[in-house]
């Protein structure tokens, strides 16, 4: 099997390992609305994510999916409704926002690594400055996670010297160093060359197997099929349809979902 071959089978995850809590709510969004100026970007969003759930959010460009997960760690501010993350409600209270950001990791489409710091410094920065961890301990943790994403040998390089796939894996390791309870992925593979997508997805599958609560905005339907226990389809700022992956892909209900799936699956 060549390492770069992107086949759904390679991503097969062991679902039996993925435990979902029945009672423990990780994220709850209630009647959330958001406007950009006069434009109503998110309309009446209701979503309950249990601990250990892996949720894939898809939808056409501009449907508000990125905006929705960015509201969860307050990179975007919502104007109406409630967002409760890990038992804390997101309000203007800066302390609460800090607390939530410490517990919620995020990976971006363009990685957003800090180009002036080495890979290791990228990973140790938040543990040292936010968690007040001693430098040595932070470095040990960073190396542990860099080994997990299989690039410990790059620790002393700068982000600019790494490939896109390696950079995204560093970004995941950087988030994991904060030992988050929830991980948000905002189109983590959209900016990558095809041959690098698998190495990133492999890491994400590994995370899912370990029981991480994940919300992923992605168009990798293979990943959704294998890992997600729920797929959410958004269009025009609303959640149009959500279901388990198998019925979602084989038997979509809403017209817009059918159209979207036909466009991305058969071209």
């Amino acid at each position: 099997m060549t390492e770069n071959a992107l086949r759904d089978d390679d991503l097969a995850a062991d679902r039996s390992k993925m435990m979902i809590s029945e009672t423990d709510v990780a994220v709850e969004i209630k009647n959330m609305n958001k406007w950009y100026g006069d434009f109503h970007v998110l309309r009446d969003i209701n979503l309950k994510v249990m601990r250990g759930e892996r949720i894939v959010i898809c939808g056409p460009s501009g449907s508000g999916k990125s905006t929705m997960i960015r509201c969860i760690n307050r990179l975007e501010e919502h104007q109406a409704g409630n967002i409760i993350v890990d038992g804390n409600e997101l309000t203007d209270d800066l302390k609460k926002i800090d607390e939530i950001r410490r517990e919620v990791g995020m990976c971006f489409q363009h990685f957003n690594l800090f180009p002036h710091l080495t890979i290791l410094e990228n990973c140790t920065l938040a543990p040292i400055w936010v968690r007040k961890m001693p430098k040595k301990e932070a470095e040990e943790i960073a190396m542990h996670y860099l080994e997990r994403v299989k690039i410990p040998e790059q620790a002393l390089k700068y982000p600019g010297q790494l490939s896109g796939g390696q950079q995204q894996r560093v970004a995941i390791a950087r988030s994991l160093c904060m030992n988050p309870k929830i991980m948000l992925f905002d189109e983590p593979t959209s900016a990558l060359d095809p041959e690098m997508i698998k190495e990133v997805l492999d890491v994400m599958v590994g995370l899912a197997e370990e029981g991480m609560t994940m919300l992923c905005v992605t168009h990798e339907m293979g990943f959704a099929r294998k890992v997600a226990n729920r797929v959410i389809f958004m269009d025009a700022g609303q959640i149009v349809e959500q279901n388990e992956p198998e019925p979602f892909f084989t038997n979509p209900q809403h017209e817009r979902t059918k159209l979207f799936l036909s466009q991305i699956l058969h071209h």
């Binding site: 990179l75 950001r101 919620v104 800090f114 180009p115 920065l125 936010v130 600019g160």
Partner: protein, 383 residues
Amino acid sequence: MSTNSVFEVRTEEAPTLPAPVSTSGVIGWMRANLFSSIGNTVLTVIGVLIAYSLIAPLIQFALIDAVWTGDNREACLPQDGGHSGACWAYVEAYFPQFIYGRYPTEEIWRVNIVYFLFAALLVPLAMPSMPFKRTNALLFLVAFPIVAYFLLTGLVIGGTVILPIVETAVWGGLLVTLVIAVTGIVASLPLGIALALGRRSKMPVIKLVSIIFIEFWRGVPLITVLFMSSVMLPLFLPEGVTFDKLLRVLIGVTLFSAAYMAEVVRGGLQAIPKGQYEGAMALGLRFWPMMYLIILPQALKLVIPGIVNTFIGLFKDTTLVLIVGMFDLLGQIQSSFTDPTWSTPSQGHTGYLFAAIVFFVFCFGMSRYSIFMEKKLHTGHKR
């Protein structure tokens, strides 16, 4: 051995020869860059002629015809009615004044200690490979100014004179130039950063205050600032309250260049992609750690050329303090022109040439150091 055999074995190494002169070395370079076509050859010849006609007289004046020793103007007078060269003997005689102004001769050791401390602290601070950066920076930015202040102005504790007071009015020459330039540079950078952040702040009051401050100081000429601070300000102060004139100039120069610095830094801040802020915020960094650790290091690195540009401008603008009766290096040199002992036709030329050389050395040094730092901080991450 058969003459028709194709068999061959090398018995001795072929020598490695230097590349043909026409493609490498000085001649190759000249061919490629200076004489690659008829047009380029003509341009090269014209360029050389212009350079020669400018540089030759300068060398003639500054070195060949120059007078290096002498006790008074007699030594530097033109011989046989011809042109005379630079009168370096005059610069030598006035050298202490150019460096210290009218600082009392018996107290000059204090200035020398300040010069020495300045160099001894700045050089290791500027070299990235030297250890103890934090201690060094603390010494340079906190301890040194205090020590220098008391050394230069004097120290009297409870009526006991430890270091005799030296009024700033008698300071002059390079001392004044450096005091103003260094204070201005060191103080204007943090102030400029604060103003740049303030101008980008979401808080309306802070933003408005920053904008008004920046636009006010950028909108008035430095000469006006200096003039106002030394002539007008005392009119507004209550009777008996006086600030030292040098202090007023220092504040004026610092605020003035801080406004320019703020706009340079703001340019850098604007060049940082939004993703860097989001990456930092998503990790839980608060505003100040995010600025200090992520945004400012990148923004300031981007605008090193602009920052050094402002520094160099500030360094040269110190010459304007002459307008308020302070004698910086240039002012001190100009004031020496009135001395009949050294009055010769070449005195002015020599004095200005000396000033130009000193200013050039400092400014060129800053320029080269900034290029060195740019290269040093380049981590191969241009996106």
